[in-house]
């Protein structure tokens, strides 16, 4: 039995799970407030555009997006396996690629801000 390389995918999963645990609820609350008409100041175009114009903010946002998507992808991979889907390699490739694509897209969009 050889030592597994699972830590490559598990490390970001654990980090992402922690980040989403601390951040996602309040972020969803912000968009929900906007949905109900009480748009928080930061979500106004000028404010958000200015905020994400700074490189540290872009890096932080990209990191949060990557970790959030990665941990969701990893968890979904495990869930598929729990539900009896045996093609783990195919599922893993699809989901991790999706997470990376989403993260890459966020980097591209953030770069344009």
């Amino acid at each position: 039995m050889a030592i597994s390389n699972k830590p490559i995918v598990w490390g970001p999963f654990a980090a992402g799970g922690t980040v989403t645990a601390f951040l996602t609820p309040v972020l969803v609350l912000l968009t929900l407030l906007a949905a109900f008409g009480h748009v928080p100041d930061v979500l106004a175009y000028e404010r958000l555009h200015a905020l994400l114009g700074h490189w540290p903010a872009k890096v932080l946002a990209a990191a949060v997006v990557f970790l959030s998507l990665w941990s969701a992808a990893h968890r979904l991979r495990i869930t598929c396996h729990d539900l009896g889907v045996r093609a783990d390699i195919a599922v893993a490739t699809l989901l991790y690629a999706g997470a990376l694509a989403g993260a890459a897209a966020s980097v591209l969009f953030l770069a344009r801000i």
């Binding site: 039995m1 050889a2 030592i3 597994s4 390389n5 699972k6 830590p7 490559i8 598990w10 490390g11 654990a14 495990i78 396996h81 729990d82 009896g84």
Partner: protein
């Protein structure tokens, strides 16, 4: 002196005559303070001597009498009849092949237990004349709870991942490896990692937590497994990103 009639539905399987298991109903006059094991013993002594099951200490220290009581892994000597209503279904421990009636084939667990080297591999080998290994109360407490495992395998019956992936080394084996890894006298962690940090080692665990839920000795194998995951992950990144650092 109070007795009540308890209905037990017990899984029966005779490998010599049956093609598959069946359920057999017994009506047992039980005393109020009885556990499931008492009812089984009464059945075997007075009603049906062909019923087969493992048991020994009758006090939750030997780990022999693990079985499913109403679908939940329990020690039969610790499952009090007064906590159950209606028909009580008694089946062999889940995720293990059935040998006969309530007796399971436990070879898989015994093999996995061996593979994780659940014994002290001393950091420094001392001759008897060098004196004893010394340990502070704090060092003892660091691993004590994981030493309480009685190898009852309830955790394997509760673990959905073990049910899905029979190759998974499983909660108890890894918790026991952790017990020795945490022991200040031990220097065998690297040797155990070959098995524990393999894909079918700790990485099949999805932290369902059912193992710790059902453990009769409060070992918390789930906690042990997560600690092993974190340590193994840190090791991996250290080794691959900073190879100049000695472990």
């Amino acid at each position: 002196m109070s007795e009540r009639l308890v209905e037990l539905e017990v899984l029966r399987y005779n490998p010599e005559t049956d093609s598959e298991p069946r359920l057999q109903r017994y009506s047992v006059a039980c005393r109020e303070e009885w556990v499931v094991l008492d009812a089984l013993n009464h059945i075997k002594e007075s009603i049906d001597p062909t019923l087969s099951y493992r048991w020994s200490c009758h006090m939750a220290v030997c780990g022999s009498c693990g079985m499913m009581v109403n679908g939940e892994p329990k020690l039969a000597c610790k499952a009090f009849l007064r906590n159950y209503e209606g028909v009580i279904r008694v089946e062999p421990l889940a995720h293990f092949p059935v040998e006969r009636d309530l007796v399971t084939v436990i070879d898989d667990f015994m093999d996995k237990l061996k593979r994780v080297r659940p014994y002290l591999i001393p950091k420094e080998v001392k001759a008897v004349s060098d004196g004893e290994y010394r340990q502070t109360p704090a060092e003892l407490k660091k691993f004590k709870q994981y030493s309480m495992c009685i190898n009852c395998m309830l955790c394997y019956a509760a673990c959905p991942e073990y049910g899905i992936i029979p190759k998974f080394i499983g909660p108890a084996a890894i918790a026991l490896a952790h017990r020795y890894n945490q022991d200040s006298r031990d220097g065998g962690r690297a040797a155990r990692q070959e098995e524990v940090a393999a894909t079918e080692g700790v990485w099949e665990c999805s932290f369902t937590g059912a193992c710790s839920d059902v453990c009769p000795e409060h070992v918390d194998p789930a906690g042990a497994l997560q600690q092993v995951k974190i340590r193994s992950t840190l090791d991996w990144y250290k080794e691959h990103l900073m190879p100049w650092l000695k472990a």
